[in-house]
Symmetry: C2
Subunit: 669 residues, 2 copies
């Protein structure tokens, strides 16, 4: 039942194999189609477009004023002005008016002195030259004091676009300004590349259409089918049209049948394994039976079990089932085919250089793609790895970019320079407020309110525990850190740690909340847990927080006080990184008890046995206090009523000191 | 008839006035609407979305193998393996299968040794503990050599998403990965901001709908209406829905009527002046009569005559008629209103720092927006201003970005650092091959072929004449320069100039073409021009090329040889920058003759009086010869059959030396 891999090929080899087979099958750009310019936005030109007409296509006045023949003005000077008869030698024109036939310059209205009912100058004798006619009805003239050069204040033909001139080249993505220039150049339609049709086939007996959720919650062994939405969206983003097929069960005949229908209809077919239960094999076998498989397995992580084949000259990509694998398989193997069809280049995300905040180990021989959060601290981009599992959709939602660890590397040291392909714009990354440290549920609310009230900014919080956060501040990897570290000796929160860790550096502590920590147990407390002493019972499984977190220190302090050997506690070595993960473990029966904040118990409907009230502060380097980023955070914490209301509703928080400076000073002094 | 401006306000003041009035009228975000997640791509969330269900929502096998109870494995070791009976203590599971009730770890299939038909070990006495039953039908076991920790190889509930966890915040633009996470978290629909409806009203009696072009070419005084397409496209790009109205003639009643219909239908109305002929006034008066005008005239260039008002609580923007003014008015005053409706931030284009290639003078008291081309040479971004006229649509098509010269500045020196807001992506700008120098029509073809065959790259050519191009190379502003400079003393092309201008720097000359230069005259040569001597005739108007261009040098050389005083030539002081502009001037009667290459005569159907054959080379700094950019240029020039065919079809070119290195060496030696 396990898929049999052809020899996995390297990422580079896979790309080459795919390109070579596309070449040999003659699979190139799709044929052009003509669309109206007004509907051509974001389409790709299939040929260069040259102007049919010039723009403007007639000489026109560039100013309001009088059209004149410039030769009539040769003799004009301050001392000997020149008189031009309106209606014969000077014609009033508004900006944009065609120049009257034979006229070739414009005098601005403010430079032309209107002259009425003057006597003809005595030195003018020829009646033909005189602006005064016998009737006196056309007796108005303009008087000018300066000769004008040819085509003064005239928009000449072709000033903007010369007929035959190139407007946009082939392979160009049409923007609004291009639409304007195409119409100005006389094009009503434009030849663009047909959008490739990408068929997305979800397969897997356990998969259920998300529409089902309208009626009831999902139940095991069902899996909500959401990869189609991601793959279809990515296809559209790449300029293709996506056709999502209904779910196909794991049945060789059904898979063959839908593959044939899909290759009929589409230019490119994605078949997405629903789960590992043999469906990969069915996909593989079906493509083999109907066409050929050229790649089965690529040495990448995640995404290894990708299949690439061809049926009836159409590329078929077997996309792995795990969401991150599916995402990467699309980026690496599907997008390039779409781009080939369109004749566009894979710009991909923008690439920046960042410093890695944590070391990454990675297997040799595999190109690994690590999702990272990125922030800019002290003018340096810092990349912090997030969850690496292939099944973690949220790791893609939270990531700002992707770092590739090449096959020849066993990993990267903390602090080393890495290239990040961004998933957001550089300016969004620049406007990210980086909070690394202890987790608290109020940070999610803070993040929301900031995004809502300051749409250009976002708060990114990474949960590495209080000590980890202070270390991140020290290394210049964050703008602020959430911390609730109790100094056992003095009973004081946070301050002693700042003093010890930041010698000679001025630091500020601003209180976020005081909060209640306690033991979470399932509703009704089925195991009758009363306190820490029950944790050593044989029938009690505990779930711990990671070393370095304030909550872990709190636990260890209580255990010490109670003389409980931690190694007597089952599950002491199983660590989670957030309060909510602890709560979830208790809710779902992975554990019977865990130490966490009240709001996490409230969120998941667990019972709560209070243990301590503690102070949760934001540690901020003094030099950041005047920055816009910290200003935004403090603004919300100190003055936003919605924020206070939402924190209140989480439960278990005391906001008496919220926003107050608890400490400011240098460490080590 | 001239528009009467309220006191123009500064750009900053205008923004503040607009924001304050929107605030006081309570014009904020548009209400939310619920859409299917599958259709929510690129929409903006109207509220934070929290997970309804965990994902996964049941514990499932993360590997193919056997589900076991981890407590059953405590005693396993290499020397004393543990036997688990299949069907009772070990259940086969595929990846993704729900964990059977009571089982809490998975042993990978490769770590489980299948054992058949073995005798029961003698130390096992209790039949209940034995995996061998009496019948022998369930006689298969797995043998394991190592204890397993709880939840080994189990995807636990909430591993990806914990129910109640924040998936995406409010004000977030939904990407394909977000769609996946929303569905995984149990959301079938999502609340997004309604797209604002932007009405675009073109007004102007001379305007004609581009559809008219299907029947006939435009005729004066018609103006093809293309601003609607640009404004509508920009509105869509900003996340709005655009409704383009038919053209309204310059009639106060008609304008009032359409404004009323538009404010009924839309959230924001753009009324676009067709021309200067009083229509601005009609717009102003109409908005005043129906509502109020808060801004008429902003001290920006281009774009000054912008009008901002409100009718029935709907913002109405009077967008100036010139295309660049319209573009800027949208960026500065329309996009921010759309973003307010959507609750998004104005990211705008990416901002980079570049060195200015030419000085810019700019009036005090006006914020001027200069369009620039940008290229990266020697790891430095170089910004070269392009045409500044408000009427130059093509300047927006060609530009890579915009530089703002603030009101307090009279301009910027050449070489100064400027901030550029990019209109393309940084990577597109990085992959731009910058060619500055003499103009030749083959450069357009080269640019096309490069874009087509190397979609990631583009060739940008700026036309400043041969000498200007060499100076740009010298200053590090270009990768290559087209040059055709004849040294009068030696009769040699280009080489003497390189030697003189680049002392100590190794330079390469690669021939592009040899080409015929000659006098262009209108078809049939109505003025009977035979050669340079006719240029001094009174009835002949000449059109010149700019000083520093090779063509100008060629002209001056011939005039000297013929003892013709240039100042006897009418139009000698009227300069154009390209062959095509010269050809266009002759075609449209601005001039009777000009000196240009044969292909420009052929393109516009002019007669051609040959004067000289000359060598047009590409000058390339030696250190660029091995770069990918120059490699692409040389690849096309040397080996692309389509390129040769197209150059051939332009006419007047000799390709005998095309691609050949004509010279390589240091200057000044």
């Amino acid at each position: 039942m396990r898929p049999i891999f052809l020899d996995s090929v390297s990422l580079e080899k896979a790309g080459d194999l795919l390109a070579a087979r596309l070449d040999s099958l003659g699979i190139q750009r799709l044929p052009p189609e003509r669309v109206r310019v007004a509907e051509a936005q974001d389409r790709i030109t299939a040929e260069p477009v040259f102007a049919k007409y010039s723009s403007p296509f007639y000489h026109s006045a560039a100013m309001d004023g009088y059209a004149v023949r410039y030769t009539d003005t040769f003799t004009a000077s301050e001392t000997s002005p020149c008189l031009l008869k309106i209606g014969r030698d000077a014609l009033y024109v508004d900006t944009g008016d065609p120049m009257p036939e034979g006229f070739n310059a414009v005098i601005m209205i403010e430079d032309a002195n209107l002259v009425h009912d003057r006597k003809p100058p005595t030195d003018r004798t020829s009646p033909g030259d005189s602006p005064w006619d016998e009737e006196g009805s056309l007796s108005d003239c303009i008087e000018i004091y300066q000769s004008v050069p040819p085509y003064q204040h005239v928009r000449t033909i072709g000033e903007d676009i010369v007929a035959t001139e190139l407007i946009i080249p082939e392979g160009h993505r049409i923007r609004p300004v291009d639409m304007g220039a195409l119409l100005a150049g006389g094009h009503l339609e434009v030849a663009v590349r047909k959008r490739p049709v990408v068929a997305v086939l979800p397969t897997g007996t356990e998969l259920v259409d998300p529409e089902m959720l309208r009626e009831r919650p999902p139940a095991p062994p069902e899996i909500i089918e959401y990869n189609s939405a991601v793959l279809g969206g990515m296809a559209r983003e790449s300029g293709a049209e996506a056709v999502c097929f209904p779910i196909v069960r794991d049945d060789p005949g059904a898979i063959r049948e839908v593959l044939l229908r899909a290759v009929e209809k589409a230019d490119l077919v994605l078949i997405n394994a629903g789960s590992g239960r043999g469906s990969d094999d069915y996909t593989l076998t079906a493509i083999r039976e109907l066409g050929e498989v050229i790649i089965h397995g690529v040495s990448i992580k995640p995404g290894k079990p990708v299949i690439i084949g061809f049926i009836r000259n159409k590329p078929v990509v077997g996309v792995p089932g795990y969401p991150v694998s599916a995402y990467l398989a699309f980026k690496l193997f599907v997008r390039p085919v779409i781009e080939r069809f369109l004749g566009t280049a894979s710009a991909g995300g923008e690439r920046i250089t960042a410093l890695l905040a944590r070391q990454i180990a990675s297997p040799l021989g595999v190109d690994e793609f690590i999702r990272v959060k990125v922030g800019e601290v002290h003018d340096t981009f810092i990349a912090t790895p997030v969850g690496r599992g292939a099944g973690l959709m949220m790791s893609l939602v939270r990531a700002d970019g992707i770092v590739r660890i090449p096959a020849g590397s066993e990993g990267m040291r903390s602090g080393s320079e890495v290239e990040v392909e961004l998933m957001r714009s550089r300016s969004e990354v620049r406007n990210t407020i980086v909070c690394i440290g202890s987790h608290d549920n109020t940070l999610d609310i803070l993040s929301n309110i900031i995004k809502k009230n300051h749409p250009g900014y976002s708060l990114s919080s990474a949960h590495v525990g209080s000590l980890g956060g202070l270390m991140a501040l020290k290394k210049g990897e964050a703008h602020l850190a959430g911390t609730h570290l109790l100094d056992e000796r003095t009973g004081e929160y946070n301050v002693p740690f700042l003093k010890r860790l930041f010698p000679g550096r001025r630091m500020v502590l601003v209180n976020l909340v005081r909060r209640r920590q306690g033991l979470l147990v399932r509703k009704g407390n089925p195991k009758g847990i009363q306190g820490f002493k029950d944790l050593v019972r044989d029938d009690v499984m505990f779930i711990n927080r990671q070393a370095g977190s304030g909550t872990r220190l709190l636990l260890d302090k209580h255990l010490r006080e109670l003389n409980i050997n931690p190694f007597m506690i089952r599950g002491y070595d199983k660590e989670e990184y957030t309060h909510m993960s602890v709560a979830s473990a208790v809710l779902t029966g992975l554990a019977d008890a865990g130490l966490a904040v009240f709001s996490s118990a409230q969120a998941l409907g667990l019972d709560f046995i209070p243990v301590a009230e503690e102070r949760y502060d934001l540690a901020i380097p003094y030099e950041f206090m005047d920055t816009e980023k910290i200003g935004i955070v403090l603004g919300v914490v100190r003055g936003n009523a919605e924020f206070r209301g939402l924190v209140q509703s989480l439960g278990g928080y005391d906001m008496g000191d919220m926003g107050k400076v608890m400490y400011e000073g240098e460490g080590g002094v």
